[in-house]
């Protein structure tokens, strides 16, 4: 390895096995052993900037926002917190909405303002336990409904036991005012219930705040803040798990959270049906009606058109001639044609086929086409993770045998990482494309996808060659892969899947951002 090449490889830390999926802005400049600056000046579309926070720091963010609203509107802390949760922690919206609601009498001021408890009659009957109590033993929520302290305690305890935190309403049957945190703290006396309540409400605070996210790993008490929340990859610095900032599930760009949820659900729901249909039925090669084989013999006669054909190769039965009952030849050309036909079915024929009787078969073919590729990349990804380990071992051995230092072999590690990164991206482009409407944007996306795919296959092949590999060729491939990955993501950002459009139509997504960015540590 030439000394002068060093500046190509010095951007990686030696111990970087996590967090190198360009997660923070500092890492944007990672260039996978190739200088990308002249490829394109734009930032990596997958890059995401976030900070990790402790439980205490999140509490501080919550406290600051609550204090702000509380002072501005003269409310109790509990009511202020409830309003913030409802307004997804946009403090300006919260103040504005509350003032508007108050002006239009949506919220009678009595419901939420800090009230001085009026001491009237000395004794009154609690309408839950039917016991007459002194005024001191009665407690009034912000809505003005009054019950005795011991009934409030039992009620709150039972509500918390059901898993509620935010959203416990007044005990009165016709009142739907949410009970504030301060009221619960005062009247819920059972220690464990109180702790559970605090956990529940804290979770709701984090979940309702779009700029906050928590690590989905069990028992990992780590939180993340981003001033530009997006469904991008977060790597937990405590437990190393990697997930989507918005939905907490596996990282899934270019699919949006909704698209990937729909896809996962579909894959799970359809697993049985589609595999049954694809393995037990075929289309008649003559009239294209779906046929389920009901006997062992491979000589089939279509009930619709009386066409006689072979179940195995789908050829006219007559063509079997001398090898009458033998059909074990693998015909490469035919296989290639079948693949091409499948691709065509998936991309072109579907829109034209709406009036044909086998629309369902075509829809299934389309689904299977995408599913197969999704699974294929998933499997490649697993195999390439092994490859990564092999590369690691190989490099270690070379270093031990004094065949260059770790830095000299860094390019191999970089190539492996880039391969994994692009492979994952490719895997998730299939559900994305599945939910795209036909048209020019889909064609462009699939073109970019195909380009990345072919580059990646070349790269994968080159890396697997081991010691014989051509370093210059590898670097050219890496450069091209990185370029194409970025192009693909930039394009995906511009177009919406049908699933994403559905939400846009249903309701404008709230892009509220916590206005307390300044308090982050």
């Amino acid at each position: 390895m030439a000394e002068g090449d060093d500046d190509y490889y010095d951007c990686y830390d030696d111990d970087a096995d996590e967090a190198d999926f360009a997660t923070t802005s500092e890492e944007l400049n990672l260039d996978f052993g190739v200088n990308l600056k002249n490829i394109d000046a734009d930032a990596d579309p997958e890059a995401f900037s976030y900070t990790s926070l402790t439980h205490e720091e999140v509490k501080q963010i919550i406290r600051t926002a609550v204090e702000f609203v509380r002072n501005k509107l003269n409310l109790s802390t509990g009511v202020a917190k409830n309003l913030l949760i409802e307004n997804r922690w946009n403090t300006e919206d919260t103040v504005q909405t509350f003032r508007q609601d108050e002006a239009s009498k949506h919220v009678p001021s009595a419901f939420a303002r800090l009230r001085n408890r009026t001491v009237s009659e000395s004794m009154s009957e609690c309408s839950v336990c039917y016991t007459t109590k002194t005024r001191d033993n009665m407690a009034e929520n912000t809505c003005g409904h009054s019950f005795c302290a011991s009934c409030w305690n039992s009620y709150l305890e039972s509500q918390v036991a059901e898993g509620k935190g935010f959203g416990i309403t007044c005990m009165d049957s016709k009142c739907d005012v949410n009970i504030g945190e301060d009221f619960v703290m005062e009247y819920l006396t059972d220690g464990p219930s109180l702790q559970k309540y605090e956990r529940n409400i804290f979770r709701t605070c984090v979940e309702s705040n779009p700029s906050l996210s928590h690590c989905p790993t069990n028992n990992c008490d780590n939180y993340f803040f981003s001033s530009q929340p997006d469904s991008k990859r977060v790597v937990c610095d405590k437990c190393q798990s990697s997930f989507c900032f918005v939905c907490g599930s596996e990282y899934h760009l270019p699919c949006c959270c909704r698209t990937i949820r729909q896809w996962w659900k579909k894959v799970m729901d359809d697993a049985d049906t589609s595999s049954y249909i694809s393995s037990h039925t075929k289309d008649c090669p003559n009239c294209e009606s779906s046929i389920e084989k009901n006997g062992g013999c491979n000589h089939l006669i279509c009930r619709q058109c009386k066409y006689e054909f072979c179940w195995v190769c789908l050829e006219d039965w007559k063509s079997h001639g001398a090898e009458y009952y033998v059909c074990n030849r693998f015909n490469a050309k035919k296989a290639a044609d079948a693949v091409a036909a499948a691709a065509e079915v998936a991309t072109v024929v579907i829109p034209l086929a709406v009036n044909k009787p086998n629309v369902r078969r075509l829809a299934l073919n389309k689904y299977l086409f995408y599913l197969e590729r999704w699974k294929n990349h998933e499997q490649s990804l697993r195999l390439e993770e092994n490859l990564m380990n092999q590369i690691h071992d190989r490099v270690q051995k070379k270093v031990q045998n004094r065949e260059g230092s770790l830095i000299d072999w860094q390019y191999l590690m970089d190539a492996g990482k880039l391969l994994l990164k692009c492979r994952r991206a490719l895997q998730y482009t299939y559900p994305f494309a599945y939910y795209l409407e036909d048209g020019p944007s889909r064609m462009l996306f699939e073109h970019l996808q195909a380009e990345l795919e072919s580059t990646i296959e070349n790269l994968s092949f080159t890396i697997e060659q081991g010691d014989k590999l051509d370093v210059a060729a590898l670097q050219a491939q890496m450069r091209s892969a990185e370029f194409r990955r970025r192009a693909l993501f930039r394009d995906a950002k511009e177009i919406k899947t049908t699933a994403a459009q559905a939400i846009l139509q249903a309701a404008e997504p709230q892009k509220t951002i916590c206005s307390f960015q300044t308090v982050r540590p």
């Binding site: 839950v128 039917y130 005795c148 009934c151 009620y155």
Partner: protein
């Protein structure tokens, strides 16, 4: 503890007394002689409804957590109603998530009476009955009348 808790709460005793002193028109609710938390209920089919002329037996049980959790109520008499299933279970919001400790046995029974007057096929418990109620209301009503005659005799 005056609210929920061991033994029979003051609330249950008072509520039972008031229920016996001022009964709801068309509804009998009598506590079981061995278990004061168990009530034998009889609801008369409301006038103008397909259940008119019938008397429907129900059981009502106050769970340990009452009034923090809702009473458990079930029809013992067979009834053709979109919100009541074959086992007599009732689809009524105040018996589930809309329960409030400030509600009482009395309000629950009044709500059930109201449900007989106004079946709600859009929030069905028995899908078949609800479907019939939507597709052919006249037929559904006549079936309900027949069932009332057959099963809910005085």
């Amino acid at each position: 503890m005056d609210g929920a808790g061991a033994g029979l709460s003051k609330r249950i005793i008072k509520e039972t007394q008031r229920l016996l002193q001022e009964p709801v028109v068309g509804i009998d609710a009598i506590p079981d002689e061995h278990n004061a938390r168990y009530f034998h209920v009889a609801v008369a089919g409301p006038e103008g409804s397909p259940f008119e002329g019938g008397v429907f037996k129900l059981e009502l049980f106050l769970p340990e957590e009452y009034p923090m959790s809702a009473p458990k109520v079930r029809f013992m008499t067979k009834i053709y109603h979109p919100n009541i299933d074959r086992l007599g279970r009732i689809c009524l919001d105040i018996l589930k998530d809309k329960w409030s400790p400030a509600l009482q046995i009395r309000t629950v029974l009044l709500s059930i009476q109201a449900l007989l007057s106004a079946p709600n096929p859009d929030d069905p418990l028995d899908n078949q009955v609800a479907e019939q109620w939507k597709v052919n209301e006249a037929l559904a009503v006549s079936t309900a009348r027949e069932w009332t005659k057959q099963y809910a005799k005085q």
